[in-house]
C-alpha cells in the first residue's frame, strides 16, 4: 500500500457518497476524511435509517458508508438491529450499491452473511479502530466492486459451487472471464463478481506489486481447491 495518502485516481469523476451515522462528531470526521481523499465527491449525511433511505430514493449514490448502531428515526434509541435491517434493505433494494460498513459493532454482520454473499456491489468492512489510511483503502475497494469481510466473521473456508467452477475453468482450462461466462451461462459481470467473492474467501486483496489473479491461484492451491 502507498506510504502517503494520495487523492483517489478517480477523483476527477463526480461521485456522490452517503455517510450514515448517528454521532455528529463521527460524521464530521468521516466526511472530512472523504473530502480530503475524494476532493470532487459530493458527500451527503444521514443520522437515522429513515433519513438514509429517503436520501437514497432521491439521489443517485455510488457509495454508502454506514454504521450499524443507529436509530430508526430522530429521537429513537440507537440499536444494532436497526442498522442490520437497514443494510439488508439496502442490499435488497439496491443490489449493486457499493457499501462500506464502518462500525464498532462489525461482528453483528455475521447475521447478514447470506445477503453479503449474494450482493452484487462492493461490500467492505472497516472497524472504527482502523487508521484513516486503512478505512480509505476499504472505501477504494468498495468503489471497485470488491468484497472484504474480516476473517473472524467467516466459518472456515466457505466456497460456493459456482466459485469453484470459476477456479476450475480459469486455472485448469485457462479460460478468460468472457469464456467462463459463456461456459457457465452467466453474465461477464457475474463472473467478475464471483472473483471478488473468491478472493475475499481466500483473503486475497489488492496490494502494490501483487498480481491478484496469480495470488488467487496460489491461495486456491494452498487450500486444496485446485489439484
Amino acid at each position: 500500500m502507498q506510504d502517503t495518502l494520495q487523492p483517489s485516481p478517480d477523483s476527477n469523476q463526480i461521485q456522490t457518497f452517503l455517510v450514515v451515522d448517528d454521532h455528529e462528531m463521527v460524521l464530521g470526521g468521516t466526511v472530512a476524511a472523504l473530502r480530503q481523499h475524494y476532493p470532487n465527491a459530493e458527500v451527503r449525511v444521514a443520522q437515522t435509517a429513515s433519513e438514509a433511505l429517503t436520501l437514497l430514493n432521491i439521489h443517485s449514490i455510488e457509495l454508502v458508508i454506514v454504521d450499524l448502531a443507529m436509530p430508526q428515526s430522530s429521537g429513537e434509541v440507537a440499536r444494532t438491529d436497526t442498522g442490520i435491517q437497514l443494510l439488508n434493505q439496502l442490499m435488497n433494494q439496491y443490489p449493486r450499491l457499493n457499501i462500506v460498513v464502518q462500525s464498532a459493532h462489525i461482528r453483528a454482520l455475521v447475521r447478514l452473511k447470506f445477503s453479503i454473499s449474494t450482493h452484487e456491489g462492493g461490500f467492505t468492512v472497516a472497524d472504527k479502530s482502523l487508521p484513516m489510511r486503512e478505512m480509505l483503502t476499504k472505501v477504494d475497494w468498495s468503489l471497485q466492486g470488491l468484497i472484504y469481510t474480516p476473517k473472524e466473521m467467516r466459518s472456515g473456508l466457505e466456497m460456493k459451487p459456482e466459485w469453484l467452477e470459476v477456479l476450475n475453468l480459469a486455472f485448469h482450462h485457462g479460460l478468460q472471464d468472457r469464456a467462463i461466462a459463456e461456459r457457465m451461462k452467466v453474465s461477464e459481470r457475474s463472473v467478475r463478481h464471483y472473483w471478488t467473492k473468491i478472493q475475499d474467501a481466500l483473503d486475497v486483496y489488492p496490494d502494490e506489486g501483487i498480481n491478484i489473479r496469480i495470488q488467487t491461484e496460489i491461495r486456491a492451491r494452498e487450500e486444496g481447491l485446485l489439484d
Binding site: 502517503t4 495518502l5 454521532h23 462528531m25 463521527v26 464530521g28 470526521g29 468521516t30 472530512a32 476524511a33 480530503q36 448502531a69 440507537a78 444494532t80 438491529d81 442490520i84 435491517q85 439488508n88 442490499m91 435488497n92 443490489p95 464498532a104 459493532h105 461482528r107 453483528a108 455475521v110 447475521r111 447478514l112 452473511k113 447470506f114 445477503s115 449474494t118 450482493h119 472504527k128 479502530s129 487508521p131 484513516m132 473472524e152 466473521m153 466459518s155 466457505e158
Partner: protein, 214 residues
Amino acid sequence: MKLHHEAEEIRNGLLQESFAVRRGLEVFLESQKRCGHEHSSSAVTVGYDTLQILERFHLTVKAWSDRLSPPYLDDSLPHAIGHLVEGWKTRYPTLSIHLSVPTEWPIEAYSDHRAIVLVLDELFYRSSTEFPTLSAIAIHLYHHNAMGKLSVKLTQSVSPSPEQIQSQALIHLQRVSQGLTMGHCSYRWMGSEMQWELAWNRVPTLGQNVRSKH
C-alpha cells in the same frame, strides 16, 4: 446483562468519541503533510505522537468492552464459541483443540448464549488446572430437533486419578451448568477421556439471521 449493557454503552459512547478525536487529528496531520509541513512543525510531531497514544487508547477500550461482553454473544453462538476457542489456542499453543460448529444457528437470547459460553470457558479453566496432562480437547456444537447440544471430549495422556474422577469442582460445574441453561448436563470417564455433554431447549429470538429476499 448488566455487563452487556455497560459494554454497549462503551461501544456507543466512549469508542465513538475516541474515533471522532482520532479521525479529526488524522485529517489535520494529513493536510499538514500535503502542505509540506510534515517535518517542519513540532506541533505536527506532537500530533503524530498523540495519534499513537489515541490508537492504543481506542484498542484498549475496545478490548475492555470485549471483556465485559464477549464478542458474538448477541449474534452467533458458533462464532462466540469460536472466538472463545481462539483465545484458548493462543494461551495454550501446545494443546490440541478441535472445534466443530454448524455454519447456521438460530439466534437465541443473549443470556442463553452467555450461559453456554460461560460454562464452556469454566470447563476449560477447571480442566486445565485439574488435569495437568490434558493433551487434547474436542468441542462439538450441534442441534437435534429443538435441543441445542454441546459435547466436549477431554483427553489426558494418563488415566485419571480417583481424585480427578471425583472432582468436586466438576460436580459443582455440572450443577451450575444445568441451573444456568435450564438444561441437562452429564459427564463420564472412558479410560483417559472425559466426555462432557450439555443439552438445552433452544428458544430462537425474533432477531433471526437475516436472509436476502431476492
